[in-house]
C-alpha cells in the first residue's frame, strides 16, 4: 500500500480559511468548542423544567400599568 494518505484527506481543499480566525483547524478553535461542549453537555437540573411548568400553570397576568 502506498503511504500517501496522510494529510491529503484531512487537509482538504481549504486548509487556509482567511478571515476565519477560529477555523476548525486552529488549536484555539478546537479548545473553545471542547470547553463549550463540556458545558453544554452538563446535566440540566430539574429546577428549570419545574420553573417553566410553574410559569405555564400561572394565570396570565393582567398588564401592569
Amino acid at each position: 500500500m502506498t503511504k500517501q494518505t496522510s494529510g491529503a484527506a484531512s487537509a482538504g481543499p481549504n486548509r487556509r480559511r482567511d478571515g476565519e480566525p477560529l477555523g476548525a483547524n486552529s488549536e484555539i478553535g478546537r479548545k473553545l468548542k471542547q470547553y463549550y461542549d463540556e458545558l453544554v453537555s452538563d446535566e440540566v437540573p430539574d429546577r428549570f423544567a419545574q420553573l417553566l411548568s410553574q410559569l405555564e400553570q400561572a394565570e396570565p397576568e393582567q398588564q401592569k400599568d
Binding site: L22, S26, L32, Y35, D37, V40, L51, L52, L55
Partner: protein, 182 residues
Amino acid sequence: MAASLGFKGDLLATIPGLRAFAMSLSQNADRADDLVQETLVKAWDKQSSFQPGTNLKAWLFTILRNEFYSQMRKRGREVQDSEGLLTARLAVHPSQHGRLDLDDFRKALEQLPEDQREAIILIGASGFSYEEAAEICGCAVGTIKSRVSRARNKLQEILDISGEADYGPDAIAAQVMGSTVG
C-alpha cells in the same frame, strides 16, 4: 405561527446552551444558573414580544447577556476585584507535547475581558454569525470581529501557541513522533 404552544418546549431545548453561555460569562456555576433562571422568567413574561420565525436562541442569549451586565453593575466593582485575583494566580504551563490542556485553556479564557470572552464564545462556540453576535451584544459587526480577533491573540499569547491557524501535517507528525509511550 402560534408561538405559545411550543414556546415552553423551545425554551427547554435552549437551556443547555444558555447555561453554557452563562457559565462562560460568569465563570461561576451558581451565578450561571441564577442567570438562566432570570432569563427564563423574563423570556416567559416577554414572549409576546418575541417575533416567531426569528432566532429564539439569539433572543434568549440577548436577555441573558443583559441580565448578566445588569447584575454586574449592581454588584459594583466586586467582580473586577475577583478578576484581579484570578489573573494574579494564573500561571499557564503549556505541556511539552504542545497539546493544550483544557484546564489551561479554561484559565486563559477567564483572563479575557468580558467583552472579548463573550465575543469569542458566541462566534467560536455557540455557533452564531457575526451579525447575530453583534445583535446580541448591541454593537457593530466590526466591533465583534475585532473583539474576536483580540481574544484569539490574547489566548494565543497566554497559552504560548503559534499564531498559525493552519496546524498542518508538521504538527501531526510532531505528535506522532513525540508519542513514545507504548
